[in-house]
Subunit: 565 residues, 2 copies
C-alpha cells in the first residue's frame, strides 16, 4: 500500500535551485515513487493533484508555504524520506561557496564600487523593492523575476527613463551586454547586429541563429514581456533603440516582440523610422505593414529575422533604395476606389499613424463616426456598400471622390492625400483627365502632397503611361503599389512626438550613456546559477545573500543558517 | 439667390450609367451650379446633405426612389433644368444599340444556347433571384451586384457546389476566364499564374503587376468579398483552388483575400497544402504563419504576392526543398519551455489546425479550460507565470514537461509531440540526457512523432551537436526553428476533412468541369458597359433588357420605353 506524506513549512523562502535539488534527492531514495517540492500556489496545487500528490494537508497551504510531498511504497518509507529533508539541504549547501557574502545590495555595492548592473531573480513580491534600491545605488537593473506588478514596472521605468538608467524586465529572461550573458543566454560571437526584444527566448533564437550563420551580436537588450503594453509605453525598448542607434558597433538592429498594442507599435516604429540604420522588425502575431518600409524590414518569424539581419550585415541586401521623404506633418486623407487597396493602406499605415480612422471594418483602424467625417488620419473605401447603393462604383463615377478632394483641400492641417486610380475594362474611360485638374487646383490651394497609386497595364484602354504622365503634370507623385506609398506617407507624417497620448514623450527621458554597453560589473540577487554564469564569463560579480525581509519560517531559517555555516 | 429644386420619381429603376450621364448633363446646363441624381438611400441622402443639395422633399425619399436635384442660380433656371430630364434621357438612349434584346435570361439562353456564363450587375435586391435562374439554365454566374444578402449567398453557393457550377460573388468586381475579363479587369497577357481572390482590386493589382513584370495569367477567379466568411465556408475559393490545381495551364497559384475567419483560413490552407503546385498566399491583415510552409509562400502585400508568383513561375525560387511529410493524423501536443517559441508555434500552426488551444493569450488560439487540460490540438507555454510561481523556469527544471510527455503518451489519439530545447548559460546543464529516455519510451509506447526544436550554438556549454545527436538517437526529429516544425506538423496533421464543423465538406460537392475555364460565351444582365467590354473582347454575348419585375415608376418607365423605341 503506497503512502503520500506531506510536510508544510510555513512562510518559508528558499532558492528555487535548492528546492529542485531537494526534490530530485527525495525522488531518488529507495521506496520513494515520486516527490514534489513546491510553493503552495493554486497552479502548483493543481500540478500536485494531477500527479496524485495532493494531500488534504497540502490543500490548506498558502502561496508563501513550502510544500514537501513524497509518495512512497509504505508509510514507514515516506516518514523516513521526509526525515532526510534537513540533511539533504545541508548537503546541498556543501557545494556552495565559503566566500563572504553581503546581506544587502548596499553592502555589495560598497564591496564592488565599480559595479553598474544588478541582476535580480528573487520571488516577484520582493523584486520591485530591490530594483528600486538598485536604481538608488546608480545601478542598471536586469530584472529576471516575474510576478512583479504592472504598477511596479511603470513606476520603476518612469524613474529609470528620467535618470538615464536601464530597467530590463520584469520577466526579462535574456540579455547580452558587452558580450556578457545575463540570465538565459547563448554563447555567441560578437558582431555588428544589435537586438532589442520584449521576449527572452526570442533573443535566444535570434542570437543563436545569427551566430550559427557566421555573424555576431553587438548587444542584445531584453525589455521584459510587458514593455510594449500601453501603460508601460515601450519605455525600455525606446531607450534600447536609442542606445543601439548611437552605438558605433551596431550596424543593423533587430526589434522583436510579442504582439504590441497598436498605439505602442506606432510609437516604437515611428521612432525606428528616424534611425539611420536598417532595422529588422519581428512582432509575433502582428500583421506586417509590408515586406519593407523605408529602413524597416518586416520578418514573419524569428528565424527569418535572423536571416534578414545577417543578409543586411553582410551587405547582401540593403534598405537604401527605399522611398523616404523628410517629415512634413499634417493629416492623411486616403480616398480609395479599390477596397483591397484601401485595406492594404490601412494595414500598411496603421503601424505608423495612430489613431487611423477608416470606414473599413478592420482591427487596425478606428471606425469613423460619420460616413464622410474626417477625424485625424483617415482612409476611406469609397467602394464600400454604404456608398454604392443606387450609384456607380467609384472606379466608374469619380464625382464623390472629386467632392471629397475639394473638401479636404480646405482643411488647414491637410498633409497628404493618398488615392488610387484603377485602370482596365469596366473602369472610367479616362480617370486622369477628370482628376488631374482637381488635383492641380487642390494642391496649389492646400500645399498638400498628392500620392496616386495607379494600377493597370500598358495594354489597358486608358493608357498606363498617359495616365501617369497626366497625373504627374498635375503635381501628383505616381506610384505602382500601396507598399511604395506606405514608405512615403510614413516618413512624411509619422512622428513619435504626435503619438504621445498617455505615453511618455521621447524627450522627457535622459539618454542612457553608451558606457552602459561596456563589459558589465554586476551584483546578483537571487538565483545562484546566474552568479555562477557571471563568474564563468569572467565578470567581476558579487552574490548577495538575500533573504526575505521578514516572515521566514524559523525551522527552515535554522536549516539555511547551518547550510551557510 | 440660388435655388435648390428636387424631383422625386417613386419606385424607379434606371441603369446607373444612365443616372451618371443625366447628372453630368444637368450640371453642364447654364445657370446650374450643381446637380445630384441618386437613389434615396441614407448614405446618398447624407452625401446630398454634405453638398448642400438636400431639400425637405428629398429627405422623405425611400431607397427605391430616384432623387433628381439641381442647385441653380435662380428658381427659373432650376425649374428649366429639371424640365430637361426626360429629353436628356431620350438623348442618352440614342447612343444605345437598336439590336433586338431579350427581356429574360431564358430567352437570352435560347438565343445563345452555347452560353455558359451569366454576368449579373442589377441592384442587389433582385440579383439573387436572377442568379438562381442562371443556375437553373446551367450557367456559371459572375455576380457583380453588392447588397445581396448573406442568406442568398449561402443558398446560391450550396446549390452551385453540389451541381459543379461556379457562383463568383456577390460583390465580385473582377474575374478573368479563358483570357476574358468580366467586370473591372485589366488587359493582361496569358501565362502560367492562376489567381483566386476574395477581392476585386486585389486581382487587379496582382494581375497587372504580373503582366508588367513580363509574366501572365492563366485564370483569375474572383469569389466575392464574403466567400471566406464562416457561413459561406470559402465554397467558391475551394472550387476555384481545385480547378486551378487540375488546370494544366496553371503552374503557380496566388490565393488572396481580405482577412479570413480563422476556421475558414484553416480549411482553405489545409486544402492548399494538399495541392501539388506552389501557392502564394496573401491575406491582408493576417499574421503570416511563416515566410514559407511546405508549398505555401506567405506574402505581406499584393505587390509582393505578384513578385513571388513571377519568381516561382520563372524558376527563380521554388518550394520543393521544403519540409513536408505524408498526412498521419492525430492530435498535436506542444510542450514549450520558451514563451516566444510557443507563441510562434501558435502563430504558425493556428492557420492549419483549428481549433488550436493554448494557455498563451493569443487571438489565434482558444483558451485552455484548465492549466494542464488538453483538448484537441494544444500548445502549452510551460514558462507562463501560472507555472513558475515558486518553482524554477522549465528551461532549468524539466520535471513538469517530463510529466506531461508521459501523460500525453497515454492518449490514444496522440499524433505529434512538439517541443523546444533551449541551450545556453542559465539553462539546464544537460537537457537531452533527461529528455532522451523519456522521449524514447513515450515514442515506443504511443507511436507518436517527436519533433524537437533545439535553440543554441556550438559554443553553448551543453554542446549543440551532442544534444541534437542524443535526441535523434531517441527517435526525435531535431529542427533548428519553429518555422521548420510548422511545415512538418501542418503536413502531418492538417486536413480539410477534420475541420468541417458547420462548413460543407470538400467531398460533398461536384467538381467543376475544366471546360468552364475555356473562352466564355456570356449573357449580361445589368450594366451595359460590361456587355460592351465583352463585345470588345470578341466574346459572343447577349444583353438582357432587364427591368425590375414590378413596382417601377410609371413616369420613368414611359421615358425608358421612349428611350428604347
Amino acid at each position: 500500500m503506497t503512502e503520500v506524506r506531506t510536510e508544510i513549512r510555513q512562510g518559508t523562502y528558499a532558492d528555487s535551485v535548492v528546492l529542485m535539488q531537494l526534490q530530485s534527492e527525495l525522488a531518488r531514495l529507495e521506496g520513494v515513487l515520486d516527490a514534489g517540492v513546491v510553493m503552495g500556489t493554486p497552479a502548483n496545487l493543481e500540478l500536485l493533484k494531477s500527479s496524485d500528490l495532493l494531500s488534504e494537508a497540502a490543500e490548506t497551504a498558502g502561496t508563501d508555504d513550502l510544500i514537501i510531498v513524497v509518495l512512497a511504497e509504505s508509510e514507514d518509507l515516506a516518514i523516513q524520506a521526509l526525515s532526510n529533508v534537513d540533511s539533504f539541504l545541508v548537503r546541498g549547501a556543501a557545494t556552495q561557496t565559503d566566500d563572504y557574502r553581503p546581506k544587502s545590495l548596499r553592502t555589495a555595492k560598497e564591496m564592488l564600487p565599480e559595479s553598474n548592473w544588478a541582476l535580480i531573480s528573487t520571488p516577484g513580491k520582493w523584486a520591485g523593492e530591490i530594483a528600486r534600491e538598485a536604481l538608488d545605488l546608480g545601478l542598471n537593473v536586469f530584472l529576471y523575476s516575474d510576478n512583479v506588478s504592472l504598477d511596479d514596472e511603470v513606476s520603476l521605468k518612469t524613474r529609470s527613463t528620467s535618470s538615464g538608467q536601464l530597467v530590463l524586465g520584469p520577466d526579462c529572461g535574456t540579455t547580452l551586454i558587452g558580450g556578457v550573458g545575463f540570465g538565459f543566454a547563448n554563447r555567441v560571437r560578437r558582431g555588428p547586429i544589435g537586438v532589442v526584444a520584449a521576449s527572452g527566448t526570442g533573443i535566444q533564437a535570434i542570437t543563436s541563429r545569427i551566430h550559427q550563420l557566421g555573424s555576431g551580436i553587438s548587444q542584445a537588450i531584453g525589455t521584459g514581456g510587458r514593455d510594449l503594453y500601453a501603460r508601460v509605453g515601450a519605455r525600455t525598448a525606446r531607450q534600447a533603440l536609442d542606445l543601439l542607434a548611437r552605438d558605433p558597433h551596431t550596424e543593423v538592429v533587430v526589434l522583436a516582440s510579442k504582439p504590441p498594442e497598436p498605439a505602442v507599435a506606432a510609437r516604437l516604429l515611428s521612432s525606428a523610422l528616424r534611425i539611420d540604420k536598417s532595422i529588422v522588425v519581428q512582432f509575433s502575431g502582428f500583421s506586417p505593414p509590408a515586406s519593407r518600409v523605408c529602413n524597416l524590414l518586416f520578418a514573419r518569424s524569428l528565424s527569418e529575422a535572423a536571416d534578414l539581419a545577417v543578409d543586411l550585415a553582410d551587405g547582401q541586401t540593403s534598405t537604401t533604395e527605399d522611398l523616404r521623404r523628410p517629415y512634413r506633418g499634417g493629416l492623411l486623407r486616403g480616398l480609395f476606389a479599390g477596397g483591397t487597396l484601401a485595406l492594404e493602406a490601412v494595414q500598411g499605415l496603421a503601424p505608423f499613424l495612430y489613431p487611423l480612422f477608416s470606414n473599413l471594418a478592420s482591427d487596425l483602424a478606428e471606425p469613423l463616426t460619420g460616413q464622410t467625417a474626417l477625424e485625424g488620419h483617415s482612409i476611406l473605401d469609397l467602394g464600400g456598400d454604404e456608398y454604392t447603393v443606387g450609384r456607380l462604383h467609384p472606379m466608374m463615377d469619380q464625382q464623390l471622390r472629386i467632392q471629397l478632394i475639394e473638401k479636404a483641400s480646405l482643411e488647414t492641417d491637410l498633409g497628404v492625400i493618398l488615392m488610387d486610380v484603377v485602370l482596365g475594362s469596366g473602369s472610367h474611360p479616362d480617370p486622369a483627365a477628370e482628376l488631374a485638374p482637381v488635383i492641380g487646383k487642390a494642391r496649389n490651394s492646400s500645399g498638400a502632397e498628392f500620392l496616386v497609386i495607379v494600377i493597370g497595364t500598358d495594354e489597358d484602354p486608358q493608357g498606363l503611361a498617359a495616365t501617369c504622365a497626366r497625373l504627374e503634370e498635375a503635381g501628383a507623385t505616381v506610384l505602382s503599389s500601396v507598399t511604395d506609398a506606405v514608405g512615403l506617407v510614413a516618413s512624411m507624417l509619422s512622428t513619435p512626438e504626435e503619438l504621445t497620448g498617455d505615453m511618455p514623450g521621447d524627450s522627457e527621458g535622459h539618454p542612457v550613456g553608451l558606457d552602459t554597453l561596456g563589459t558589465p560589473t554586476a551584483i546578483n540577487v537571487g538565483l545562484e546559477s546566474f552568479y555562477d554564469e557571471l563568474v564563468e564569463q569572467e565578470v567581476s560579480a558579487v552574490q548577495v545573500d538575500w533573504r526575505p525581509p521578514a516572515g521566514g519560517d524559523e525551522q527552515i531559517i535554522s536549516v539555511l543558517k547551518r547550510m551557510r555555516s
